[in-house]
């Protein structure tokens, strides 16, 4: 399996890409920045499995926590409401300093 590139607590950004095919990264979360909540383990790449290939090497899968207010600027509810989404490693990049509008 590929090694886990991110640790829990790290800020990550979901890539804003729109490839064709079977992709398990929802549209609405692409381009959003969140925090790694945990590493779930490693699983075969679903984009490859959908093409009848073996999906190996397995890829680290993360649960990333996003603040609702950052995903939907007009979100109505508690400031602390969050959304947690499972995202495979190849869809994540380190959040650049200052690009998520949050103080460090």
């Amino acid at each position: 399996m590929s090694e886990a590139r991110f640790k829990p607590g790290e800020r990550v950004k979901v890539m804003e890409a729109y490839p064709l095919g079977h992709v398990r990264t929802p549209y609405y979360i692409r381009g959003c920045t969140g925090t790694v909540e945990r590493i779930c383990g490693a699983f075969p790449n679903p984009e490859e499995l959908a093409q009848m290939r073996d999906g190996l090497p397995k890829l680290p899968l993360y649960r990333v926590r996003f603040r609702q207010k950052e995903v939907w600027p007009d979100y109505r509810g508690n400031e602390d409401d969050v959304l947690e989404v499972e995202i495979f490693q190849h869809w994540l990049e380190p959040a650049e300093e200052g690009n998520d509008g949050r103080p460090r």
């Binding site: 609405y28 649960r63 995903v71 509810g77 508690n78 959304l83």
Partner: protein, 199 residues
């Protein structure tokens, strides 16, 4: 005229299912017995399984801890077979309310809750639950206090989720079996609370 009974022509999908199944059996890929056994197994999976897990967690703090750490292993203690690494139990508290959705399709903890309800698979629930969870929960009759944090879990990949609802007040001293009767399906998806002792 002879009684026609409840005869209905087969729907497109029923016809497709029968054709595919007969073909698989004819080609020796599966047997009728295997198909029957699988269907039977699916029918036996009902929310009562999940309720058993929740009730145990309510009465046994050690079990609850193990469930939150490794859902699969904890379920094994109850004789429930859950695929490795896959189950995540998320706990409701007065400060945090959890709810589950699968925006991409209909991923659902079938091993503990059985077949998902129709609304869980609807476009309405799937698209709005991540966007305006408080409004959706209100439509289910569940008003979450403004001060409570809502955590929505989008089940997009390999994990499956079960919500551990809060134990209702007034159930002190209840047996595990009796407590399990308060745990309904919707409370384990996070769109309802567990029933109260007088509900």
């Amino acid at each position: 005229m002879a009684d026609q009974g409840s005869y209905r022509p087969l729907s497109y999908f029923q016809l497709m299912e029968i054709s595919l199944r007969e073909l698989l059996v004819e080609k020796g890929i599966v047997t009728d017995e295997q198909v029957d056994a699988t269907v039977e197994d699916m029918r036996n999976r009902t929310p009562e399984r999940g309720a058993k897990v929740v009730a145990r967690a309510w009465v046994d703090a050690g079990f609850k801890q193990r469930l939150l750490e490794n859902g699969t292993k904890a379920c094994e203690e109850l004789g429930l077979d859950v695929p490795a690494l896959k189950l995540l139990a998320v706990e409701n508290t007065p400060q945090v309310h959890n709810a589950i959705v699968c925006t991409l399709c209909s991923c659902y903890p079938r091993m503990l809750l059985g077949i998902p309800p129709e609304w869980y698979k609807s476009r309405n629930y799937r698209s709005r639950m991540v966007r305006e969870p408080r409004a959706v929960l209100a439509e289910f009759g569940l008003q979450i206090p403004e001060a409570t944090q809502i955590r929505v879990h989008d089940s997009t990949a390999d994990m499956r989720y079960i919500v551990l609802p809060m134990r209702p007040a007034g159930t002190e001293g209840w047996s595990e079996e009796r407590l399990a009767t308060l745990v309904n399906r919707d409370s384990m998806i996070g769109v309802a609370l567990a029933k109260g002792p007088n509900d």
